[in-house]
């Protein structure tokens, strides 16, 4: 070993902590190295000096003080909570940053609305989930299908203009589900008169606007809705602490979509409600009320065990007290997933003028394929009132509706449900599989 190596061992040598072999090597080197001898001497003087350092004496009464502390139950860790307040900055900042982040996360969880899948949010999802490729394809589809394509019969120009506006409009419009496009196009190709539903154009425009709001303002709202235009699977709203994206006008029927609509003319909707409630109650069902955004038509839902639907309709119709009268709906047996053409026709023939402004003016914001498809039948009365549609419009539109549903291949919204700005007053519970939901509309007479 050379001097530098020896000197690193000298300290341990002084302390007698070297293993014998190294100790012998060190001693052999020191014998002939004055420099290392001097170094060793310095280390020894240092060690002796440290050992000779004055030893301050503990205060007298040391034992008594210890005893006193023990008797008082003091523990050495007692002051530790104070330390928490006086951590050095390098510890404090990360700790407090983490704490702040945790608080923010908890706060976000508390105030974020739970999943609420409305049609609007489905639109938002559609938009969000569409890939760039889909978006690129969308404009290519649009001109191919619309203004250039001959449409056999155009019932009214403004309607078509609106439709074109939608089709040529912003990207979102073209991103409507593929099923909707297919349905519309198939209807045109088959030569059947298809009505661009008067509601649907402004409705979709409206929905687009709202959809953007939902996209921008409604962060955190996730929808599990399909993007292909089938049935929109709705969760029912849970209280959202006032922070949900406003979705007024969206009908959140979800999977409790009424399979049939019963229209009753009555002066007082509450009488009808009570009456329906009593009948439903006797049949193991219940009534869900909704607050309407406006207009004369009141609407509520009746949820019943499926086997009692017929009984309910019979009892409900029989016990209606004059001047309340049934307009339509209790006669037909309704398949949940098919279009009841008869009821649509009946509605077309009997609905009063009062419904028109509601249907036309209300911005219905349903934007799914189901909505588009179903609106064809729903809007029949409107078209007829415009005096632009031939009398057989209803029947003709009912047929494509059936076809459309077959095309869709999935249970679509029954077309007999008019899309209205219904605002659920309270969320509906999820329906059991064995129950059926009816909608009862009350039309005020004489207006």
């Amino acid at each position: 070993m050379h001097c530098p190596q020896i000197q690193t061992e000298l300290s341990a040598y002084v302390d007698g902590e070297l293993p014998p072999s190294i100790r012998a090597e060190v001693e052999a080197h020191i014998e002939g190295c004055p420099h290392c001898q001097e170094h060793l001497a310095e280390l020894r003087r240092l060690a002796e000096g440290v050992a000779a350092l004055p030893k301050p004496q503990p205060a007298p009464q040391f034992l008594a003080a210890v005893r006193r502390k023990i008797a008082h139950g003091e523990t050495p860790e007692q002051k530790n909570w104070i330390d928490l307040l006086f951590r050095p900055v390098w510890m404090k900042v990360p700790i407090e940053a983490v704490a702040l982040a945790a608080i923010l996360v908890v706060a976000a969880v508390l105030v974020t609305p739970p999943r609420r899948n409305t049609a609007l949010q489905t639109l938002a999802m559609n938009r969000k989930e569409s890939t760039p490729a889909e978006r690129a394809a969308a404009p290519a589809n649009a001109p191919a299908r619309s203004p250039a394509q001959p449409v056999p019969i155009v019932l009214n120009a403004p309607v078509k203009a609106k439709e074109e506006a939608v089709q040529n409009g912003p990207l979102v419009a073209r991103e409507e589900s593929a099923a909707a496009k297919a349905l519309q196009q198939r209807a045109r190709e088959s030569g059947v008169r298809t009505f661009a539903p008067p509601i649907s154009a402004p409705a979709r425009a409206d929905a687009r606007a709202n959809g953007r709001e939902a996209l921008t303002a409604g962060g955190g709202i996730a929808g599990a809705g399909d993007t292909g235009g089938g049935v929109v699977s709705h969760d029912f709203g849970v209280p959202t602490f006032g922070l949900a994206v406003p979705v007024s006008g969206i009908v959140r029927y979800g999977e409790r979509q009424p399979v049939e609509t019963i229209v009753v003319e009555a002066k007082d909707s509450s009488t009808v409600l009570v009456h329906a409630g009593m009948v439903a109650n006797s049949l193991g069902g219940k009534v869900e009320t909704f607050k309407r955004a406006g207009g004369a038509v009141q609407s509520f839902f009746v949820e019943l065990p499926t086997e009692n639907v017929t009984a309910f309709k019979a009892q409900f119709a029989n016990q209606l007290v004059s001047p309340s009268r049934l307009i339509r709906g209790t006669g037909a047996a309704v398949d949940r997933f098919s279009a009841p053409a008869s009821s649509a026709s009946a509605a077309a023939g009997t609905l009063t003028e009062e419904r028109k402004p509601q249907l036309g003016d209300q911005p219905s914001r349903q934007t799914t394929a189901a909505a588009t498809a179903s609106s064809g039948a729903v809007e029949v009365p409107f078209v007829r009132e415009e005096k632009t549609a031939p009398p057989d419009v209803a029947k003709q539109t009912a047929a494509p509706n059936k076809q459309q549903f077959d095309l869709g291949g999935s249970p679509l919204t029954p077309p007999s449900v008019p899309q209205r700005p219904l605002e659920p007053e309270e969320p509906l519970p999820a329906a059991a599989s064995s129950t059926t939901v009816l909608e009862i509309q009350v039309v005020t007479p004489g207006r």
Binding site: L53, K55, P56, A59, F62, L63, I70
Partner: protein, 202 residues
Amino acid sequence: MNRVITPETPAEVTDRELVVRCRAGDEAAFDALVLRHRERAFNIAYSLLLNHEDATEVAQDAFVKVYRSISEFRGDCEFTTWLYQIVVNLARNKRRWWMRRGRKMTVSMDCPVETTDGEMTAQVAAATDPPDAEVARAEFVRTLEERIAGLPTRYREVLLLRNVEDMSYEQIAVVLGCSVGTVKSRIARAREALRQAMAGEL
């Protein structure tokens, strides 16, 4: 119970015996342990804190902790090793506690010391009529004390444990919670730092 508290506990009574009696509930045995080791505990605390008041508090707290956790002492090391371990940990906590408040640990030879007669100043004992060699040595030790106080605590504590408490590297490793190799190299670096700090005095 007949408590006999005398500083002069017979040397033949080992720490281990006192610990056993203490665990059995013998309060006098605990008192004997305190009286036997208070100076060393205080010295270690003082060497780390360089403050009489803090060192007293730490040493007392160390014995309080010994009292409370004597049942946890398994006897697989010397009692002194365990005691010093407690003292070192408490002293480190105290140091951190002060450093958080921006207090600088400085050497103060004449900080007031609380005694039964009130506060007085600690003074290094001086022999009367010292010969020149003794004067020179006292001067050397005084300088050394100042320079040691200027060393990092991690150096100071190993030097004190080694040369003042005369502990082996292995015991120091237990007290400081590090390896023997770390102790060895740290002592070597500490002495080298002190040697350079004492350049011209050696």
